[in-house]
C-alpha cells in the first residue's frame, strides 16, 4: 500500500490508513485499472472468476444444471436478504458481526450459483436477482420465513446450515466442475454456520426459562418447512443420475441424525416432538411461494428497477 504523493512522513503511517483511491490522477498512486474493492485473500473462488470463465466460453451449465444452480442460489440469496436486516439490530455486537458474516457467506454462494446459472440464459447474477418476478424464484419456503426474534432466526439457521452442509458435502463430488468448486468453498463456511447455530440452540434451550420458551416456539414455527428441503422431483432425479446433483431425500438421514443429536443434547427432542409437527406443502421449487416473498423482493429490487439498464 502506498501513501498519497504529497504526504509528509510524519502524517502518513507506513502501511495503513491510505486514503488514496486506486485511481490514477486522483492525487494518489495506485493501479488505475484495478477495482478499488477487488480484494480477496488467497485464491478463493469468486463470482467474478466464474463470470470470466463464462465470458471466455470455458464453462457453460446444461439447462438442468442451470435450473439446479438457480434453486440453490435463490435459497442463499433470500436468506442473505433476511439476515442482512439483523446488522445493527442484533442482541450483542458479536452477533451483529456473526449474523453479518453468515449473511455475507450466503450472499457469496448465491452470487456464484446465480452467475453460473445465468450463463445458460445469457443473464447476469443481477438480471436474475433484480429482474425476476416472485413466481420465477426457486427458493424453498424456509428461506423466506421472517426473522422473528433471535430464537426464530437461530432455529431457521440451524435447519438451513445442517441441510446445506449435507448438500455441499455431496456436491463437492459433482460431475459439473463449477458446481463442485462452488460447493467446496461453501462447505467450509457452512460448517461454521452449523457450529454457530448449534451453540445458540444449546444456550437458548439451557439458558433461562424465557429463552427456552422462545426457542421451543421458534422451532414450532419453522419446522413445518423442513420437509420441502428434502423433496425429490424429476430434475433432481436426472441430476442424481448424471452425477451433477443429488436427490434431496438422500440427505435426510444424516440431517436427522446430526440435528437430532443437538436437539437431544439441548433436551428439546421430547418437548418438540418434531415428527408430529405438520409439514407445509411447499412448492418453492416450482415458484409457488408464501406471502412473505413479495415484500422481500419489493424491497430488494426497488432501486435496481427504478433504473433499468443502469450499472452500479
Amino acid at each position: 500500500m502506498t501513501a498519497p504523493e504529497n504526504e509528509t512522513q510524519d502524517f502518513a503511517i507506513e502501511g495503513h490508513g491510505d486514503i488514496s483511491v486506486g485511481v490514477r490522477g486522483a492525487g494518489a498512486s495506485g493501479d488505475g485499472s484495478a477495482s478499488a474493492t477487488r480484494i480477496t485473500p488467497g485464491n478463493a473462488l469468486r463470482p467474478e472468476d466464474i463470470a470470466l470463465e463464462i465470458r471466455k466460453g470455458q464453462v457453460k451449465p446444461s439447462d438442468d444444471v442451470a435450473e439446479y444452480a438457480l434453486r440453490i442460489g435463490d435459497d442463499g440469496l433470500i436468506l442473505a436478504q433476511r439476515l442482512g436486516h439483523w446488522i445493527s439490530r442484533a442482541p450483542e455486537l458479536e452477533e451483529d458481526v456473526a449474523l453479518g458474516n453468515i449473511a455475507l457467506d450466503q450472499l457469496g454462494h448465491a452470487r456464484s450459483f446465480l452467475t453460473y446459472a445465468g450463463a445458460a440464459w445469457d443473464k447476469s447474477e443481477d438480471d436474475l436477482a433484480y429482474f425476476r418476478r416472485e413466481h420465477e424464484f426457486r427458493s424453498a419456503h424456509l428461506f423466506e420465513q421472517p426473522n422473528g426474534d433471535f430464537a426464530v432466526t437461530i432455529a431457521r439457521q440451524f435447519i438451513v446450515s445442517y441441510y446445506q452442509f449435507e448438500l455441499y458435502k455431496r456436491l463437492t463430488g459433482s460431475t459439473d466442475a463449477t458446481i463442485a468448486a462452488i460447493a467446496a468453498k461453501a462447505l467450509k463456511e457452512v460448517d461454521y454456520h452449523r457450529d454457530h447455530s448449534a451453540q445458540w440452540v444449546l444456550r437458548l434451550a439451557g439458558g433461562t426459562e424465557e429463552s427456552r420458551r422462545r426457542i421451543v416456539q421458534a422451532f414450532k414455527l419453522v419446522w413445518p418447512y423442513v420437509e420441502e428441503l428434502f423433496e425429490d422431483d424429476e430434475l433432481t432425479a436426472r441430476l442424481a443420475e448424471s452425477g451433477a446433483g443429488v436427490q434431496p431425500s438422500s440427505l435426510r438421514a444424516d440431517f436427522d441424525q446430526l440435528t437430532g443429536a443437538i436437539l437431544s443434547e439441548a433436551g428439546l427432542d421430547e418437548e418438540l416432538n418434531l415428527e408430529r409437527i405438520p409439514q407445509s406443502l411447499g412448492g418453492g421449487r416450482q415458484g409457488k411461494h408464501s406471502e412473505h416473498l413479495g415484500y422481500l423482493l419489493a424491497e430488494m429490487q426497488v432501486l435496481a428497477r427504478e433504473h433499468p439498464g443502469a450499472s452500479w
Binding site: 502524517f11 503511517i13 486506486g22 474493492t37 446488522i87 439490530r89 453479518g100
Partner: protein, 331 residues
C-alpha cells in the same frame, strides 16, 4: 516536554501514597516526553484517563451508531456485488466498535456501562450520523467523504500515547481505507452512469460535504480540549490543520469523479501553504450535537431497541455459561 504536572495532588494522601503518586507522575512525564507508550497498568493522571475514556468510548459509539445509516441500504443495494461490499463494511464497523470498547475497558469502564450511557443520551458520538442516508449515492458520499475525513483524523491516532488505543487504530485505519475506496468507487460509477445517477451522486456530495468537514471538530480557537490532548500525545495535529489537509485531498479526487464540491471558496494559500475552504455553519453543528439533528432520536431509539430486545438473549447466554461452569465444577 513542559507543563505536564497538571494533576493537583489531593491533600489527604499519606506520605507513602504521595511518594507513589510523584514517582508515577515522573514515569508518566518521561514516557510522554520520549514519545513512548503508556500501557493499561501504568500510572497515569486521572485527567489523562478520563480524556481517553471519553474519546475512545465516543469513537466506539460513533462506529456503532454509524452502522445505521448504511444498514439502511443493505436490503436495497442495487447490485449483489454492492450488497456484499456494503454488508462487509457495516460488519467492519461493528468490529471497530468492539475493538474500541475493549480498548476503553482497559481504562476501567465496562462495555455495559458505556452502552447504557449511550442509550441514556449521556454519551456523545460523531454528530454526522444524525443526518439521514436518503439515497444510494449517500453510500458513496459517506464512504468517500465521511470515512475519508475519519481516516485523516485517525491515521495520526495510530501513534497515540495510549498503547491499546494506538494499536486498535492501526487495524481500524486499514479497514477504513477500504471503506473510503468503495465509497469513491460507488460515486465514480454513478457519475459515469445515467444523468439520473450522476445527479444522485452530486446531490449526495452536496449534502455530505459540509458535515464531513465539521467532523474534524470546531476551529482551533474554539477547541478547548485540543491543546491538552496534543500535550499528552493523544492528538498530533490541530482540527484546522487536519481539515485543511482533507480539503486538499478531496479537491483533487472530486475532479476524477467528474463532480464538484459545493464550496466556491476553496483555494490553496501560497503563503501558508495550506488549503482553505468556505465558511461552515457551526451553529448547525452545535444544534445537531445538542440533539436537534434530523435523526438524533431515531438513532438512539434503534440502539435502545436492539439492546432491550436482545436482553433475554444475553441473559440466556450468561445463565447457560453459569450452569456449564457449575457442572464442570461438580465433575
Amino acid at each position: 516536554m513542559a507543563s505536564q504536572n497538571l494533576q493537583s495532588v489531593p491533600a489527604e494522601l499519606s506520605p507513602e501514597e504521595l511518594e507513589r503518586e510523584q514517582a508515577g507522575q515522573a514515569y508518566f512525564d518521561r514516557i510522554i516526553s520520549e514519545d513512548s507508550r503508556i500501557e493499561p497498568r501504568d500510572w497515569m493522571p486521572e485527567a489523562y484517563r478520563k480524556t481517553l475514556l471519553r474519546q475512545i468510548s465516543q469513537h466506539a459509539h460513533s462506529e456503532i451508531i454509524g452502522m445505521q445509516p448504511e444498514a439502511n441500504w443493505i436490503t436495497r443495494a442495487p447490485s449483489l456485488k454492492r450488497k456484499a461490499i456494503l454488508m462487509a463494511k457495516v460488519q467492519d464497523e461493528a468490529g471497530h466498535g468492539l475493538y474500541l470498547y475493549s480498548a476503553a475497558e482497559t481504562l476501567g469502564q465496562s462495555r455495559d456501562k458505556m452502552t447504557s450511557d449511550l442509550i441514556a443520551g449521556k454519551a456523545r458520538y460523531s454528530s454526522i450520523f444524525n443526518y439521514p442516508a436518503i439515497s444510494w449515492a449517500d453510500m458513496g458520499a459517506i464512504g468517500w467523504l465521511v470515512d475519508g475525513a475519519a481516516i485523516c483524523n485517525q491515521v495520526p491516532l495510530c501513534r497515540a500515547s495510549y498503547g491499546p488505543y494506538g494499536r486498535a487504530m492501526v487495524r481500524i485505519c486499514k479497514e477504513e481505507s477500504f471503506h473510503q475506496r468503495q465509497g469513491f468507487e460507488i460515486l465514480l460509477e454513478l457519475s459515469n452512469g445515467t444523468p439520473a445517477q450522476k445527479q444522485m451522486a452530486q446531490d449526495a456530495v452536496n449534502r455530505w460535504y459540509a458535515p464531513a468537514l465539521m467532523m474534524f471538530g470546531p476551529p482551533d480557537d474554539d477547541s478547548p480540549n485540543s491543546k491538552q490532548s496534543m500535550a499528552w500525545n493523544i492528538k498530533r495535529f490541530s482540527n484546522d490543520e487536519l481539515r485543511s489537509r482533507f480539503v486538499g485531498m478531496m479537491v483533487e479526487q472530486v475532479k476524477v469523479l467528474g463532480l464538484t464540491l459545493p464550496d466556491k471558496d476553496i483555494r490553496f494559500n501560497e503563503e501558508t501553504k495550506k488549503w482553505e475552504h468556505g465558511p461552515l455553519d457551526w451553529n448547525e453543528f452545535k444544534d445537531v450535537l445538542a440533539g436537534k439533528g434530523p435523526c438524533n432520536a431515531q438513532r438512539l431509539e434503534r440502539r435502545r431497541e436492539a439492546h432491550d430486545d436482545g436482553a433475554w438473549v444475553r441473559e440466556a447466554a450468561a445463565e447457560y455459561a453459569r450452569k456449564q461452569a457449575e457442572k464442570e465444577y461438580a465433575a
